[in-house]
């Protein structure tokens, strides 16, 4: 019964139901709020695990556990959901991170204290994230894609960093959280507006191809696209429009500047979900929508995307080295890591796209954990300035060890999850799709490899400043509590997964490989 759409629909909408129930619960009843929140984030994960057992790993691009119901008949928008090997790992990651974020929050409610509203927002965010990964209709996808913005806007705007900041280069001062929330929201919306135009263009053009019914349905559009229905200037403009929408979310250079501000302003859980899942929506959009529906156009754009991706890698790493704020450093590291993901995608090969997906999963686990730890640390030290932190390993050994482990994972140490994305991106870059400019891609590969050195550079430098050495005198009198059980409950599963995916990448590739092979064959032939 769970196979034919109910499973996925429950995974998507149970958190929303939970949010509604929490909103009806009286504010004072914290235990009930926690219980409802926990139930309605744990249930999707349980269902997802159940579906793991029933997933057909060799099914290629066939979408499983899905359903296709009529929704808005006047524009032929349907409630079409399903997962394949590419979206399934992302969906599972999303359910896991939402649950862990909520568990972490139970003991770490951000200021101003309002567990009811905050939990509800996490749950709504959960629905939106899960929904984006299962949506197979452009309108449905758009709805969830945009829905993601609202809870995050409120999380940043209400529970974010209240300190005043100067907007660089202008004589304006603003509260960090307000500035960051608006910037994040409007910037993303700017891209999404163009993305919507692209969707509409595809909808209208789809009526010109057999069977001459305008549709928003993604699999149908994919078949049309690989049969060559969308070409020429139309395809160029549509790809550009979609590119804008997805590239802002990834975030690709130069549309990345919202990310550092959003991360420094956001509360811990907001940063975790932002880095862990929201960034993946952009690259997932490329893989699910842009590449299969506009394959010829993708080949035209691939070198440009590769160049931008590599710029992101190097630029992100260099910017990290100039940071004094720990969370801002980790934010720029996200720009770099997503650069590897986009490099993998731009190669348009089985290896590259597989690398991108495992890179997305690994980044979600690793950077999610990094933001968890950074958030906990900034909560205890009341600062994010690395100059003042130092000797953390002495003051909070467990947290320091976890930070060290995560930083090592983040720099792509082989044996941990981050390595596969980086290494296989480079492999894919060396041998991109036939017909793509080898010079561009191999140069990109070399710069990507240089990027790994810079990544190691800033991560170890960050560790040295924050973790090692002697603690500064100002922390002398403070009783700094080491990681508590809620934090460990949230972090240990992530650490286990990071090692597991690192040692046994089949956990991801087993699902993705077949789907990616299908995708590439269908889109780019042979």
């Amino acid at each position: 019964m769970l196979d034919n759409g109910w499973g996925l629909s429950l995974i998507v909408f149970l958190p929303l139901v939970g949010a509604l129930i929490i909103l009806l619960t009286p504010k004072k009843n914290l235990a009930a709020i926690k219980a409802f929140g926990l139930t309605f984030t744990a249930l999707p994960l349980i269902i997802a695990v159940f579906l793991i057992a029933r997933f057909d790993y060799g099914a290629g691009s066939a979408f499983q556990f899905g359903t296709d119901l009529s929704w808005i008949t006047s524009i032929n928008a349907r409630y079409h959901i399903g997962v394949d090997g590419i979206s399934f790992p992302m969906l599972i990651l999303s359910t896991i991170l939402t649950l862990l974020a909520l568990i972490y929050s139970f003991n770490h409610w951000p200021e101003p204290y309002n567990p009811k509203a905050f939990s509800a927002l996490i749950l709504v965010l959960g629905t939106a994230m899960n929904g984006t990964f299962v949506a197979l209709d452009l309108v449905l996808f758009f709805v969830f894609f945009e829905l993601v913005l609202l809870p995050m806007y409120f999380m940043i705007g209400i529970w974010g960093d209240k300190t005043m900041m100067k907007v660089p280069g202008f004589r304006i001062e603003a509260e960090t959280r307000l500035y960051a929330a608006i910037k994040f929201f409007v910037f993303t919306l700017f891209g999404s507006a163009f993305m919507l135009l692209g969707f509409l263009a595809l909808y209208y053009r789809s009526g010109d191809v057999a069977p001459f019914v305008r549709t928003f349905d993604i699999p149908t559009l994919i078949s049309m696209g690989s049969a060559g229905a969308f070409t020429g200037t139309f395809a160029f403009l549509v790809f550009g429009a979609l590119f804008l929408g997805f590239a802002v979310k990834v975030p690709m250079w130069p549309l990345h500047t919202w990310l550092p501000d959003a991360h420094t302003a956001a509360p811990t859980v907001g940063s975790v979900l932002l880095a862990g899942i929201l960034l993946k929506l952009g690259s997932y959009g490329f893989i699910r929508i842009s590449l299969p529906i506009l394959p010829q156009e993708a080949q035209r754009w691939a070198p440009a995307i590769a160049i931008l991706a590599v710029i992101g890698i190097i630029y992100g790493a260099l910017a990290c080295l100039a940071q004094s704020d720990m969370k801002r450093l980790i934010a720029f590291s996200s720009v770099g890591h997503m650069g590897f993901v986009m490099l993998g995608i731009s190669t348009l090969t089985v290896v590259g796209i597989n690398a991108a997906v495992i890179g997305m999963v690994a980044h979600g686990l690793i950077t999610g954990l990094l933001f968890f730890v950074a958030g906990s640390m900034s909560h205890r030290y009341h600062t994010r300035e690395m100059v003042r932190l130092g000797g953390n390993q002495k003051l909070m050994p467990k947290m320091g060890a976890i930070l060290g482990f995560t930083a090592i994972a983040s720099l792509g140490l082989p044996g941990l999850a981050g390595f596969w994305g980086e290494f296989m991106s480079l492999v894919g870059s060396y041998n991109p799709l036939a017909g793509l400019d080898l010079g561009v891609f191999r140069t990109a590969m070399v710069f990507g490899a240089i990027g790994t050195v810079l990544t190691a550079g800033y991560m170890l430098w960050m560790l040295q400043r924050v973790n090692l050495g002697e603690p500064s005198a100002e922390w002398g009198g403070h009783a700094l509590v080491d990681a508590d059980s809620y934090e460990l409950a949230a972090w240990v599963p992530l650490m286990v997964l990071i090692v597991a995916v690192g040692v046994f990448p089949k956990l991801v590739f087993g699902a993705t490989n077949s789907a990616v092979v299908s995708l590439v064959t269908k889109a780019f032939g042979g």
Binding site: L413, L468, G469, V503, F504, N513
Partner: protein, 659 residues
């Protein structure tokens, strides 16, 4: 030559060797703190297991020759297969034995040396991690697993060099090691990608098969791949110009220096070249001269640097770099056996040298030879172990190093690299000189310090004694013309390679080398021993231009810092950040501000004073009209009546007129 067996059950279970240290690491992290030796027991037991198993495998290889390989698939990505597995053949068995023996002895030593350390349990956990990663590296049947092990030992190196991370220099030294290796690893990774893509597989057997059969897809990239892999090897094995991390790595505890930075980890580069030998001997043979050049340069400049050091560990560190240069040069010249043989003997005597250094440092509480002197009588076991190892290093017959170094020199000479051979012979002189200097400054004369010097405990001296014996006999396994066992062991490989044979005895070279070595000992004796008490000669011997150059390490470190590290860390990073905040974000923020101005104009000007004006006017007009109209409502009935009558009158008149 290749009549091997498949090793039977022992080879099939050989993966236990690789896994045991990791299990130990987890156990140490879990229970180590509560144990009497703080987890050291677990580590030593695991290493003991590795030692015994590897010894058995070695004996099996000696008896029968073993060639075995097994891989388990862990991912399929398009046409690439990712596998974990293990190899048991001549080369890897030799490496297992070296790693196993040295690990076991050094771990045992470390339980004494690290007693009471601030972080003893973590030390053994990290050390076990190292051993595990090293074994992953040498057991790998494919390049990907090699990279996993390679970077894993890099991580362990970072952790252990920075063991005393309370002081910034120590963690910085760890980072320096990691970065230098990471830069060289660019070559390793790209080389692996190039070769793997050309052949379609990362497995050694596939790549080397392709190399042996001159596969057409491999031909255009073979030399490039070979160069790139060698660059990676240069990093790990501290070849010029990547050698700068090794001396700084001496910041780590001495057992680390002994095991990792002398015997095992640094030999990973040599191992890689040896493993890929069919490629280097065949399709990539054009680039071999590069290997010899790098090796020769390294052995010379590092040897010179060892002469001016006051820190005993640094003397040994530069000595290690120099000896690695010998191994690399040998491999480049075609001396497969020679290079590996020197790796074998070097592991024993250099590992021992560091252990003795540690013993001295432990007793004297200083690394500097100026704080030592006259320790011969106070620490006899240490002294005799040091002597044995030094004689091996200086290559005096019949100690181990003599046979291996001699074979290298012979290889260089007989394969057309006579210039490299002469550099090697000069190097022999330099080696003897600095080792003599070290010995005389440390053990002879009078002790100038205040510490209460005594011999180290048994747990430290016994391993030293064992290795001292090994330093004597380890070379006897490959005496050309008498017993060439080593040569046979390491050539038990699945893929054979072209034009290969062990070097025979070259008496001329042997005597020349020996002569130079003895000459070096005599010179150092004349300078340093005779003046042992005052040791002013140390400072009197200062060749003007050369000494400052050496003391500043050829200004290479300064060059790297000034040209590479500081610009990137400082101006370039800040420039990128500025660009980001002021240029790129400036556009974004500017867009926001322009939008606000535009909004103000549109709202204030167009909307408020334009459109809204019209609407408001309409409303106002209506209002005032109403305002005026209401004045008719006076509330007085008679006025209403009057209006009615007037209206009526008008109506009547209208009717009368118009009808």
């Amino acid at each position: 030559m290749v009549h091997a067996s498949n090793g039977g059950v022992l080879a099939q279970w050989a993966w236990l060797i690789v896994v045991a240290p990791f299990v130990a690491m987890l156990a140490i992290i879990a229970f180590g703190k509560r144990m009497p030796r703080k987890g050291g027991e677990i580590a030593v037991t695991a290493m003991g297991f590795v030692f015994v198993y590897s010894a058995v495998l070695l004996i099996l290889n000696i008896a029968n020759g073993v060639i075995f390989e097994h891989s388990v698939q862990v991912a399929q990505i398009g046409s690439f297969t990712i596998e974990w597995g293990w190899v048991v053949d001549g080369l890897s068995t030799m490496m297992y034995f070296v790693v196993g023996t040295l690990s076991f002895l050094v771990f045992t030593y470390a339980t004494g040396y690290m007693k009471g350390d601030v972080r003893e349990t973590w030390f053994f956990a990290a050390f076990s991690l190292f051993a595990g990663a090293m074994l992953v590296l040498v057991s790998a049947p494919n390049l990907v697993q090699l990279i996993v092990g390679w970077e894993g030992v890099g991580l362990a190196s970072y952790l252990l060099i920075g063991h005393y991370w309370e002081e910034k220099e120590n963690s910085s030294a760890g980072m320096k090691a990691f970065y230098t290796n990471k830069i060289a690893d660019i070559g390793l990774i790209i080389g692996a990608i190039v070769l793997g893509t050309a052949v379609g597989s990362f497995r050694y057997s596939d790549i080397l098969d392709a190399a042996a059969n001159n596969l057409s897809s491999l031909a255009p990239v073979a030399v490039a791949g070979g160069v790139l892999l060698f660059i990676g090897a240069m990093g790990k094995s501290a070849q010029f110009p990547f050698h700068v991390w090794l001396p700084d790595a001496m910041a780590g505890p001495t057992p680390v220096s002994s095991l990792m930075h002398a015997a095992t980890m640094v030999t990973a580069g040599v191992y890689l070249v040896a493993r890929m030998y069919p490629l280097y001997a065949g399709m990539a043979s054009d680039m071999r001269v590069l290997i010899v050049i790098i090796g020769a340069i390294t052995l010379l400049i590092a040897g010179l640097l060892a002469i001016v050091q006051d820190d005993l560990k640094r003397v040994l560190a530069y000595s290690t770099v120099s000896q690695l240069g010998y191994m690399i040069a040998a491999l480049g010249a075609g001396g497969y056996t020679a290079g590996l043989f020197h790796l074998w003997t070097h592991a024993f005597f250099k590992g021992l040298l560091f252990l003795t250094a540690g013993s001295i440092i432990h007793a004297v509480h200083s690394n500097n030879m100026s704080d030592m002197g006259g320790l011969r009588k106070k620490m006899p076991v240490t002294f005799w172990s040091f002597t044995s190892a030094s004689l091996a290093l200086v290559a005096i017959i019949p100690f181990a190093g003599f046979f291996s170094k001699d074979e290298i020199l012979a290889t260089l000479g007989n394969n057309g690299y006579a210039w490299a051979m002469w550099i090697g012979i000069l190097g022999a002189f330099i080696t003897a000189f600095y080792m003599g200097r070290a010995m005389f400054l440390t053990f002879f004369g009078t002790y100038k310090g205040e510490a209460h010097v005594h011999e180290s405990p048994k747990v430290m001296t016994v391993p030293m004694a064992i290795l001292a014996v090994a330093s004597l006999i380890a070379g006897w396994v490959n005496i050309p013309g008498v017993y060439e066992g080593f040569h046979h062991w390491v050539t038990e490989r699945a893929i054979t390679f072209p034009s290969f044979s062990a070097e025979g005895f070259d008496v001329a070279v042997m005597l020349t080398g020996l002569g130079f070595a003895i000459f070096g000992v005599i010179v150092s004796y004349l300078i340093y021993f005779r003046d042992a008490d005052t040791q002013q000669a140390r400072d009197r011997v200062r060749i003007p231009v050369l000494w400052p150059l050496l003391e500043n390490k050829y200004y290479l470190d300064d060059l790297y810092l000034a040209v590479l590290v500081n610009p990137i860390k400082g101006p370039i990073a800040r420039a990128v950040n500025w660009t980001n905040s002021y240029l790129i974000d400036g556009i974004v923020n500017g867009a926001g501000i322009v939008a606000r101005y535009a909004a103000r104009i549109v709202y204030g000007g167009l909307d408020q004073k334009g459109i809204d004006l019209a609407i408001n006017t309409a409303a106002i007009v209506t209002g005032s009209a109403g305002e005026q109209a209401r004045r008719l409502q006076t509330g007085k009935v008679q006025h209403y009546a009057a209006m009615t009558v007037a209206g009526l009158a008008l109506l009547v008149i209208a009717i009368v007129i118009f009808i």
